[in-house]
Structures are given as structure tokens and as C-alpha cells.
């Protein structure tokens, strides 16, 4: 659009760019520092951003490869970092999947069906969500301790217990998806019903395909939330080979000996699955899916 612009606009654009570049630098700095630490030989948190004598020793530890030091001695990897990574990915994918399943169906009920106490249920969900899960740590511990006596895969120190505990976080997502469902004209499902679709078929073939963008957002948010979660996982998981990467990384930080380098390598590793999921989900984050369906 050829709108007339004031003459000093050019300088303002440059000022805005400069501000944004500075802002990005501030955000990126800690991240770059962690990468730098992971490539620095020895376990030092401070130093120049570009390592003086770069080394892959911490990454070797992270991938479980014995590292030959400069003096010829061999350092064996102390922790099963790759198993932790696998645990994290497994738990995050399963949890996010279940959250998606529960919150879409729940949101459908709240957006489309009429039932008693609907509004009060929605409000109470919102209020419950305001208490962080940390407050229930003791309860989680006791519940799963007892539950494990009857259902072994839901006991303490199992991934099943952790996933079930995380599923409590669906309420925010129900609100998110409900809002999106309500923006889709009900006439589409009504017309599907007249075309012979059962309510389930209308949900499956009309509403869900149109809601893909919000489903992608919810999946990503749930995934990020779970893979970085520490308090609940640290209480429910104990065995070294059951830990998630977030909990496991803490093992590098002994009170007497902070293994900053190994910690940094593990931390960067946590970011990889998130990046991957984001890249995969990005193509579903499109707008305008519903345009053209109804004339409003």
C-alpha cells in the first residue's frame, strides 16, 4: 500500500532495528554461554565466549563415549545421559499426546454441549490451575506410593506415574482449545449432521481438521512444559536410569564439584527435541484455515 510516509521514517526504522538487534543479543547471550561452556575444556563457568582451547570432552561424556585426556588417562562417562534423553522424549511425547486427546474432547464438551454446572466447572478449573503442581508434591508422592502397591506401573519411580501426574495440566489447554472451537461457526457441524454425520464424525472430520493450528500450539506448549519440568519428576523418579534429562542434569552439580561443562552439554541436548518438534509442528501453524466456509 502506497501510504504517504513522513520523511524521518527512515531513521526511526533504523532505530527500531538497532533496538531489536540489541534485544536479541541480550536474549541469546545466556544460550551462547551455555554452548560455549559445553565446548570449553575443564569445568569452568566463566571464560571468553569463544573457548580458548575448545574440546569435545563434555560432549563425549554426554554421548557416553570414554574420553582420553591429554595426559593419557581415560575418563569413563559417569551418567547415562542418552537414556535420560530418551526418557525425556518418551515422557514428553506421551504426555503431550494424552493432553491433546483429553483437552480436545474436553474442550468440545465445553464449547458445544449444554450441561449443568458448565460455567462453574470452567471457573473452578481456572482457579485450580492457579496453584502450582509443586504444592501437591507430598500428595503426589503418597498417592503414587500407595497406588504402586496395586498397580505396579503407576507406583513411585515409574514413568507411568509421572505421565499421570502431568496430565493434571490439561485445564489451561482446555480453555485454549475451547476458545478456538467457539470461533468456528456451529453451522458447519450442523450442516455435517444434515449430511448424515454423527456428532463424532462431525467432530472428527470437520472440527478437528479446522483446529489443527491450535492443536499444534497445545502440543508444543505441553511438550516444552514437560521436557523441562523438574520438581514433580525429581520427587517421583529415583533410579538413575529412570531419570529425565532435566532431573539427571542436576547430578552433575555436586556440592563439592560443579561439573559445569558436562551440565552444559546435557542442557543443550534438552533443547534439541524441542527444536525438532517445533520444526515439525511449524507447518501446521497456519492461519486462515476456516476462511471461506461461511459468510458472516
Amino acid at each position: 500500500m502506497a501510504m504517504v510516509q513522513p520523511r524521518n521514517l527512515k531513521y526511526r526504522v533504523w532505530a527500531a532495528r538497532l533496538f531489536m538487534i540489541l534485544f536479541i543479543c541480550i536474549i541469546m547471550f545466556p544460550f551462547l554461554m551455555i554452548i560455549s561452556v559445553s565446548f570449553r575444556s575443564g569445568n569452568f563457568a566463566t571464560g571468553s565466549l569463544i573457548p580458548d582451547n575448545p574440546s569435545l570432552e563434555h560432549w563425549a561424556m554426554a554421548f557416553g563415549i570414554p574420553w582420553e585426556n591429554a595426559d593419557g588417562s581415560i575418563t569413563q562417562p559417569t551418567f547415562p545421559v542418552l537414556i535420560w534423553l530418551w526418557n525425556s522424549i518418551k515422557i514428553s511425547v506421551l504426555t503431550s499426546g494424552f493432553i491433546l486427546l483429553l483437552s480436545t474432547t474436553g474442550a468440545y464438551a465445553f464449547a458445544r454441549l449444554k450441561f449443568r454446572f458448565k460455567q462453574s466447572m470452567l471457573t473452578s478449573m481456572m482457579i485450580l490451575q492457579m496453584f502450582p503442581a509443586v504444592l501437591a508434591l507430598v500428595a503426589f508422592h503418597t498417592i503414587f506410593d500407595k497406588l504402586g502397591n496395586f498397580i505396579p506401573w503407576l507406583g513411585l519411580n515409574t514413568h507411568g506415574a509421572l505421565i499421570v501426574a502431568y496430565l493434571g495440566g490439561v485445564t489451561m489447554n482446555i480453555w485454549l482449545i475451547k476458545g478456538y472451537f467457539e470461533s468456528i461457526d456451529n453451522a458447519l457441524e450442523e450442516s455435517a449432521a444434515i449430511d448424515g454425520a454423527t456428532p463424532w464424525q462431525a467432530f472428527r472430520h470437520i472440527l478437528l481438521p479446522l483446529s489443527v493450528p491450535i492443536l499444534a500450539v497445545v502440543f508444543i506448549l505441553a511438550f516444552i512444559g514437560v521436557i523441562g519440568e523438574y520438581p514433580v519428576a525429581s520427587v517421583l523418579l529415583q533410579d538413575m536410569d529412570k531419570l529425565t534429562l532435566a532431573v539427571g542434569s542436576k547430578q552433575f552439580l555436586n556440592p563439592q564439584n560443579y561439573l559445569w561443562g558436562d551440565f552444559a552439554a546435557a542442557a543443550v541436548l534438552t533443547g534439541l527435541p524441542i527444536t525438532l518438534i517445533f520444526l515439525l509442528a511449524q507447518r501446521y501453524l497456519v492461519s486462515g484455515l476456516t476462511s471461506g466456509g461461511v459468510k458472516g
Binding site: 453451522a187 444434515i194 449430511d195 476456516t290 466456509g293 461461511v294 459468510k295
Partner: protein
């Protein structure tokens, strides 16, 4: 075949405290094109949604093909519906939109293809089959919506103000296409509209609904052929609703009754003779006299009323004169064919031809006209 029968149908949203629709009785024959008309808020769309199952029926019976369908969900009623907003599935192409229902009912792929192709041919949608709704114009989308219900071969077509989102010229064109389509398919059709031109041109039978008044028995005002409603409105509501511009109404009282002619004295003392059967009325009864704007004459010697000109609209083919008159109920509009300039405030004498007058009693019911024009 697919006749639709409504018996004492009621609709209430608050469990019987107040009603939207009351005592609707209607027989729709197979192959008939029926239009529901009425001002907004009269429940005509609600009635349509009750027929297709999107609204539940509070009481009464609804049957399609002699089968009671009150408790049948919409997907089992085998009716087709075209929504005002089109309601196309935005993530599907035209072909997929039309095939959606057939795929759900697991019909053979070849049959689906044939039916979609045929519907597309009928509606001139063939070049658009692989487009998505957002890449189409309003008229094209509306045709897809119609095509989507045609391929299902429904027992009854339901149209919910299908043309009201289109511009005027397209509306005329689509109206004719709908008429052609109906004469070809001969499927029972129910058409909701607030546009009486659509109703008059398309329908075999018009159903006039009114907003339910307090204490009223029913809001079904009259059912009949378009011209019957035009020439023989049963009551004041139908008389005022059918016809554009609106019928003029004068307040007056009967001074001479008769089975053939009636003398009415307007509030202003002007005497009007009408052809209405008032044999069962009494002298002195309050009545409302109705006359359509185009029936008023400017060169009559008797049956005259005199008003003062309020405004003049000269449109070329016709001239509308808006008059003030002490006995008029709302507005006095006259349509004439001479294009002389007339001044505001000028007095204007017009004649009300006796055979064109309608007469309504104090309860709003019409006295039978004895010399109405013939129609078939």
C-alpha cells in the same frame, strides 16, 4: 412420497413459560414448494430447524413420509438443508464438500463420482470442482451448498434464507435457477425467507407466520397459494404483510351491511362503498378498510377520499404519492402513473374502487370479498 405433516407443533425455550411457536398445523404435499414468510422474530427459521432436527420439538408431532421423526437425530432424517451462511467445509474442495455425506454413508466410489459430476453439471460447477470455498464468489458458494444437498437425494429440501447474502442481480438469477431446479427434481421443498418476492415467485404455497402475541392461540396466520394470499388475505396481519408497498388501512364503521355490498363511513365522514359480504355484521361495527396503493384511482367520481400531499417520489415508470389523512392507520401511499409535479401540502382527491377494497372486522378478520379478480 415425501409429504411433511406438522400437527400442533409447539416450541418453547424455557420449558413452557413462553412460546416461540404455537399450534402449527401444516400439510405439505409431495413435490410441493412451500415458503415460510414472516417478519423477523416470527420463528420461521426455528420451525425449519425443527423440521431438520437441529432444534427439538417441545410438543406436537412432525412426520415425514408418514413416519414420526420427532426423536430422530438430523443425520437420520434424510433431509437436505442449505444454510444462509452456506456452511461449506472450508478445508475441503468443492468435490469433497459435495461427496462428504455420501462418503459417510459408505456409498460406492463410482456412484459418488457420478452423482457429484451430475450435480456439478446441473449447477454449472464443473470447472470449480477442485477449488476450495475461499477461492469462490458468493453465488458459486451458494451453488455448492445446493449441490451438496442435491447429491444426497434427500426426501425434503430445506432452504434457510439462501439468497439473502447475495447481491440483487445474482439473487434474481439464483431465484430462477432454484425454480428451474425444483421443476426438474420435483422434490418437496421448504423455503424460509423474509423477502416476499422470493416467496411469491417460487412457492406453490405460502405460509405466513407472525411473532406470537400474548395470549394468542397460534402464530400461523394463513396458508395458501401466493395469489390467494394477495387477493384474499384472511386477516389484517397477512394483508399488511403481503404486497409491497404495504396496503393502506382506514378506520371507519359500517353504515349499511349486505351480502354483496357494504357501506363504510370513515372517521372523517367520507362514505365508501365496498364489495364485501358483511351479512353477519351489525351497523355501527368498527371496521378497517384496506386498499392497495396500486388500486387507488385518481380520476374517480365516487368513493373518494381527500388527503394532503406529504411527499412525492417520481420514479419514471411510476409515481408514489404519500398522503396525510385523518382516518389512516399508518401511512397512506398511492401509486399513480402520471408524472405531474405536485406541491407538498396540496390536497389530493383519490378514488377507492369498490371492487378493490378489503374490509376487516374489529378482531382483524377479513370480510369475504365478493368481486375479487379471478386467478387460477
Amino acid at each position: 412420497m415425501a409429504e411433511v405433516k406438522l400437527v400442533n407443533l409447539d416450541k418453547s425455550y424455557d420449558g413452557g413459560k413462553s412460546y416461540v411457536l404455537r399450534n402449527i398445523n401444516l400439510d405439505i404435499n409431495d413435490g410441493e414448494f412451500v415458503a415460510f414468510v414472516g417478519p423477523s422474530g416470527c420463528g420461521k427459521s426455528t420451525l425449519l430447524r425443527m423440521i431438520c432436527g437441529l432444534e427439538d420439538i417441545t410438543s406436537g408431532d412432525l412426520s415425514i413420509e408418514q413416519e414420526r421423526v420427532n426423536d430422530m437425530p438430523p443425520n437420520e432424517r434424510r433431509v437436505g438443508m442449505v444454510f444462509q451462511s452456506y456452511a461449506l467445509y472450508p478445508h475441503m474442495t468443492v468435490r469433497e464438500n459435495m461427496a462428504f455425506g455420501l462418503k459417510l454413508s459408505k456409498i460406492d466410489k463410482k456412484v459418488i463420482n457420478e452423482r457429484v459430476e451430475e450435480a456439478a453439471r446441473t449447477l454449472q460447477l464443473e470447472p470449480l470442482l477442485d477449488r476450495k470455498p475461499k477461492a469462490m464468489s458468493g453465488g458459486q458458494r451458494q451453488r455448492v451448498a445446493i449441490g451438496r444437498s442435491i447429491v444426497q437425494e434427500p426426501r425434503v429440501f430445506l432452504f434457510d434464507e439462501p439468497l439473502s447474502n447475495l447481491d440483487v442481480s445474482l439473487r434474481v438469477q439464483m431465484r430462477q435457477e432454484l425454480a428451474r431446479l425444483h421443476s426438474r427434481l420435483k422434490t418437496t421443498a421448504i423455503y424460509v425467507t423474509h423477502d416476499q418476492v422470493e416467496a411469491m415467485t417460487l412457492a406453490d404455497k405460502i405460509v405466513v407466520l407472525s411473532p406470537l402475541a400474548e395470549g394468542s392461540e397460534s402464530n400461523l396466520e394463513q396458508v395458501g397459494a401466493p395469489l390467494e394470499l394477495f387477493h384474499h388475505p384472511k386477516n389484517l396481519f397477512v394483508a399488511g404483510f403481503i404486497g409491497s408497498p404495504k396496503m393502506n388501512f382506514f378506520r371507519g364503521e359500517i353504515v349499511a351491511t349486505g351480502s354483496e355490498t357494504t357501506q363504510v363511513k370513515l372517521e372523517t365522514g367520507e362514505m365508501i362503498q365496498t364489495y364485501n359480504d358483511t351479512s353477519y355484521a351489525a351497523i355501527g361495527d368498527k371496521v378497517t378498510l384496506g386498499i392497495r396503493p396500486q388500486d387507488v384511482l385518481t380520476n374517480a367520481e365516487e368513493n373518494n377520499v381527500t388527503g394532503t400531499i406529504n411527499a412525492l417520489e417520481r420514479l419514471g415508470t411510476e409515481t408514489f404519492v404519500y398522503l396525510n389523512h385523518p382516518a389512516i392507520v399508518e401511512a397512506f401511499t398511492v401509486r399513480i402513473e402520471d408524472h405531474r409535479r405536485r406541491e407538498e401540502g396540496e390536497s389530493f382527491k383519490v378514488g377507492l374502487p369498490a371492487e378493490s377494497c378489503h374490509l376487516f372486522g374489529a378482531n382483524g378478520q377479513a370480510f369475504q370479498r365478493t368481486r375479487a379478480p379471478q386467478f387460477d
